[in-house]
Symmetry: C3
Subunit: 264 residues, 3 copies
């Protein structure tokens, strides 16, 4: 038996909206520590890791580890039916192939129960090693989204260069070139407006823009985003979910040869 209750159904709706374009089917793993999901996108290029800690829920009960394979587009259809202040209760048990989403309005005058069919998904075990990164940049998530979208109108890839004082995003294409430079900015009114650069050694890496643009759909989940970079390692783009967990996206850098190929 699995049961979990969230104060805001809208949070799970936003999470699923932000990842369902990358991954259409995924297995949620439920255990005493919480609810998590790891999946590669359909082209096997990027990886999504979602982690919701049990203590971030209003109520969380998982008698034993439990897997729930879901079609995220179907799940999104149901979560869209939640009112903006509705609470969400999820329920499932081994005896049934359904997960129940229960939306309750604040005054309790409206009760909506949605049952989603579960599915079997053969999921690979994806070992994500913890790593030390050469450079970590925290910046407003809306600013990151704007940069990758803007550069996406100029080229296919972005070259990210982190130095002690600034981070640069550069792209080029048929119509010309673009470079956007963000300076470290610590002294802001709100902490989430800061651009904070922690650099062990300078990095210079190139990534496919369309994946970064896709990751930035998670902008609504958090006012700031953290980008972790190391040479020859996948970049981590992390959106923290206050008091409950995080969504992380991983993307391998383009290596020189690939770029050549791409340009040929």
């Amino acid at each position: 038996m699995f049961e979990a209750q969230m104060a805001q159904a809208a949070l799970l709706k936003q999470i699923i909206e932000s990842i369902r374009e990358l991954i259409t089917e995924a297995t949620f793993e439920v255990s005493g520590t919480g609810m998590m999901l790891q999946a590669m996108d359909s082209s096997h290029v990027s990886l999504v890791a979602l982690n919701l800690r049990s203590d971030g829920f209003q109520l969380f009960r998982a008698d034993r580890p439990f897997s729930m394979g879901m079609n995220l587009n179907h799940m999104a259809k149901m979560l869209k039916c939640a009112g903006k202040d509705d609470t969400l209760t999820m329920r499932a048990d081994e005896a049934s192939d359904l997960v129940t989403f229960l939306f309750e309005s604040p005054g309790n005058e409206r009760l909506a129960e949605f049952e989603l069919k579960l599915m079997d998904i053969t999921s690979e075990n994806l070992g994500i090693p913890d790593a030390e990164y050469s450079a970590t940049v925290s910046m407003p998530s809306a600013e990151f989204q704007r940069i990758v979208k803007d550069l996406g109108s100029i080229g296919d890839t972005v070259e990210i260069t982190v130095t002690k004082d600034d981070v640069r995003f550069a792209a080029s294409g048929d119509i010309g070139n673009a470079t956007i430079k963000c300076r470290q900015l610590l002294d802001t009114e709100k902490p989430e407006d800061r651009t904070l650069i922690e650099m062990v050694e300078p990095v210079n890496l190139t990534f496919a823009l369309r994946y970064l643009i896709n990751f930035s759909k998670a902008t609504s989940l958090s006012p700031s985003v953290t980008i972790k970079l190391s040479t020859e390692m996948p970049v981590v783009v992390e959106y923290k979910l206050s008091d409950i967990g995080y969504v992380r996206f991983y993307l391998a850098p383009k290596i020189e040869d690939e770029e050549m190929e791409g340009e040929a």
Copy 2:
């Protein structure tokens, strides 16, 4: 000679917008009592009845009963050109095949005259008998619209069940099932937020969702909607227009056999 004046051209615009997807051509019948329209949708499944009483107009003059066949999409094109505070004067006479819509801005500095070509439409006489209903539910129109749209993403039909204390809307489809339950709610700040259930005997009826979704386009016409149900009778979905009349939609329930056929 027919002439009628409305304080808000926007009202007629909203009315036509809410019905023109169901019926593209219709005959307005004008007489001393007002202006009315009855028409079946093109698939002959649902029926629209519009009634605007003469006393709801600022000025109303109809020398004798008069029929005006109009293409509602063309009519909508013209009504869209009314400013949001414009008054509307309609004029027509037997000698011409045109109806004139005159939009006047409040300060009178702008005068727009649109002439729409009338058309001959062979219209059936649709006898709509007055009936007693087993259950009548009044609820916020926005809530009704949200329910039929939400369920429309799950299934094709909705099963409506009215009991003494609540009304339930249920749908099921390939991805799962949904049930939305609204409790009777009398003690609200605004009367239009109430959910009021008057039940003579319990009813349980099934309807095609796409028609109900279409009816709910009239949501902007009224803050509340009234749904009247009886076994083996068409449901009535009524939007009252304050001080002037109503728009009513009728839809026959699905019977068991049809459902079977639909599912096969």
Copy 3:
């Protein structure tokens, strides 16, 4: 060497947005007096003239007359990347085939440099003679846009009639006819709300609506529009840019024969 600085990058963005549907490629001519552009639309029916005076820039330097051929859609892609309060610095020199757009955020913490490839465009020299007009109408630009859009849903051409007291816009089509009459209106709270008619002699001219609708994309550039009309002369539709210049659109009237042809 050419260098020019604008307080609001958003202004150039709006200008290019308002003309790029008519002209996709154009040559900007830069000289000591400022920056200008003249081009016919691709169908060679209408003409756009943009004039930005050097004194309207924060900084303007043009060592010698200089031509820059640009694809306006590519230019628009880059200008869309400017923040809403960013300043804009443009730079180009003869030695390179690039023009640089530099966007700086108010706090200077973000610097975006876009380089657009220039192109060779064989441009005709378009002599636009200064003329006296029979009638000049100034009116709110939003009102003009609304009229041409509204009439565009009724017919293909608009007949504009200016008399001493009012200006009339008339269109007709398959579904019916429309006439919109705007009275002279001098006594308004804001000067830009005025409708001012200066008439030497009455005029009655017919124009293709789709061009006027296209011109009205410049509505965001100015709260009022000035329309200058003379028999057998192109109409001028002018949007003044406060403190820096103007955008003017020219369109030849339809003559009787053309109309007949169009209707056949």
